[in-house]
Symmetry: C2
């Protein structure tokens, strides 16, 4: 692994494991070592999206693996050069506190395990990056925040899109008045969920599409609006005869009204493909489709009756690398987290309000 490899191409084996005084590094990074990640949970997302990308980080590197499956530890330990001394299972997990190579813990487990493994990491004195949704209830989120605060460690939630250039550009365009006064946000996310996955099992997932792909619609509506909603109203449809949906919901669509008057119409589905958002205002709109994908984002903007595609240059770091690096950067430099536990808690409270609105058939007024 090479420093700056992603940004400037491979420079050779200079300073692996140490952030040396390479020109272009910020002052706070000069002479500091990279922070070490433990990846907790070696499922699809961790092994296909996270592990291959850590090598691209400027400020972090892979140091440990946590899995209940010995074969996975063998396989990925060998693949990524993580020695047996830095493998953990869920029983030995708390011993990470004795491993000074581990600074950061990335929890990539099913939703219902997020709280436990984040809290145990905080208690072990580690900084935490936890996948979204943050947990399966706002009470769990609050406990996670309290544990991190008590340990005086950082708690970040894996809002990947907060690091994706097109999403950031969309937010900037809205904020700087490109669409005029925003009136409507549409945010639509869904995919056809295949049967027999943990995400369809409520004890593991905490819910259906809303606790999975739906959070992209919710979080996007909030960052595009740039404010917090004051009312939410939701409608659900789930075919209970479909064996996929014995105990989780399929589709839930909802509306949120924000203080400025912008209304968001949001979609969450386990039965159809959606990946798009659009912000419309008094002067035009900006939209993306796909909007929150791993790659291949496409963006259009319309003003003065003319629609144009927006093309951005390739970023210095892709969204995965930028997210992984951000926690290390925040620890090393003291800059505030872009996506803190409080951000995850806000979404979780809204998810609870969305479920409640659909269940009770009424709009929920938010504090």
């Amino acid at each position: 692994m090479t420093i700056m490899g992603t940004r400037r191409g491979v420079l050779g084996g200079i300073g692996a494991g140490l952030i040396t005084g390479v020109a272009g590094l910020p002052a706070w990074a000069q002479g500091k070592r990279k922070l070490g990640y433990a990846i907790v949970g070696l499922g699809n997302y961790a092994t296909n999206q996270i592990l291959p990308r850590i090598a691209g980080c400027e400020f972090a590197e892979l140091k440990a693996l946590v899995s209940g499956t010995p074969a996975k530890l063998e396989k990925f330990g060998a693949q990524y050069g993580v020695p047996r001394t830095h493998w953990y299972d869920y029983k030995s997990y708390d011993r990470i506190k004795d491993n000074p190579d581990i600074d950061l813990v990335y929890v990539v487990l099913p939703n219902s395990l997020h709280a436990e493994y984040s809290i145990r990491a905080s208690q072990a004195g580690k900084h935490v990056l936890c996948e979204k949704p943050m947990a399966v209830s706002s009470a769990e989120c609050e406990a996670m925040i309290a544990a991190a605060r008590k340990a005086n460690r950082k708690l970040m939630i894996g809002y990947r899109c907060h690091f994706e250039p097109y999403n950031l550009r969309a937010v900037e365009l809205v904020k700087t008045g490109f669409v005029g006064r925003p009136t409507l946000i549409t945010a639509e996310h869904g995919f056809y969920a295949q049967p027999n996955q943990w995400r369809l099992d409520r004890p593991m997932s905490g819910g259906g599409s809303m606790m999975d792909i739906g959070i992209y619609s919710l979080n996007a509506a909030r960052y595009l609006a740039g404010e917090e909603p004051v009312a939410v109203s939701a409608m659900e449809f789930t075919d209970r005869s479909d064996p996929r949906f014995r105990n989780v919901e399929d589709r839930i669509d909802w509306q949120m009204r924000f203080p400025s008057g912008v209304i968001a119409n949001c979609v969450s589905s386990y039965s159809s493909g959606h990946n798009a958002f659009r912000v419309t205002g008094t002067k035009g709109w900006v939209g993306m489709e796909p909007a929150t994908s791993y790659a291949g984002h496409q963006m259009w903007a319309r003003t003065s009756g003319k629609t144009e595609q927006v093309m951005l240059p390739p970023p210095a770091k892709n969204q995965f690398v930028a997210q992984l690096d951000h926690l290390a950067e925040s620890v090393l430099s003291g800059i505030p987290l872009r996506a803190s536990g409080e951000e995850g808690l806000r979404d979780m409270r809204l998810i609870e309000a969305i479920y409640r609105s659909a269940r009770e058939g009424r709009a929920i007024q938010l504090a």
Copy 2:
């Protein structure tokens, strides 16, 4: 004016005013005269969209004008060759019953006048085409239907899109399974309403954007779903400090759940431009933008991971001409109306439920 002019090019002055035995005409039309329209209300829509298009009809022609403004009768009477004997104002309007040249009455007045002028036309023994929204309350719609039934005359509502080829193609694609099982419909309509128009004056309009552009979202959601909704939930936002919105709403967005499980997210706005719909299902989607415009419709369809633009050949009759001809065709041939008073009443009952849901902050279950 020539018969078949629109379909086959101008053939010369053959049979003006009489549907003669031209090859290609349906049997029911052979030897019958064209039916005569009286156009009631000479505002923008009537004079820019309707009057210039009646000449394209196969089965109908312009015979009379009704306006409270003598200068308009002079101007358009001269322009379209309608003699002074076939001019009416709102006082003399009921005398249309004595004019056998008038078979059909097209009511193109502000919403709050629809019921009165449709009912008076029925009572005069004429068939009625009334612009949408049908009226300003479901009670008025019911009275209109009763009056037409009592007079044994037809009552059609101006759902132009029911005659527009791309819209019809979208309905057909959905119905024949192109998108798989439909899960989500989005239908968005809006424009920036300029101040000082009758549409912003509740006594004339009966409401704000929902009683105007919003009905396109509502009606499209229904024809795309191919079924009637069972629940509706709505959210409004109106800036009452905006002088445009002293007594009508600006934006109202709503959700409708249909028996099959498809959910529609709909938009109605007087503060931003929207003209689009999309139907997404388990296999793909079909969408249009603009969707319900006067011209320039664009349609895309996605299946098997590939999005393609759908291009249709120019229709034999454009949507305006087809709509105007349809009432005449229905009268002459006895075929049922595509867009009857009952259709208008269905939308009006839903508009009332949408308003009620937004006002009461709860979902309304529909019978």
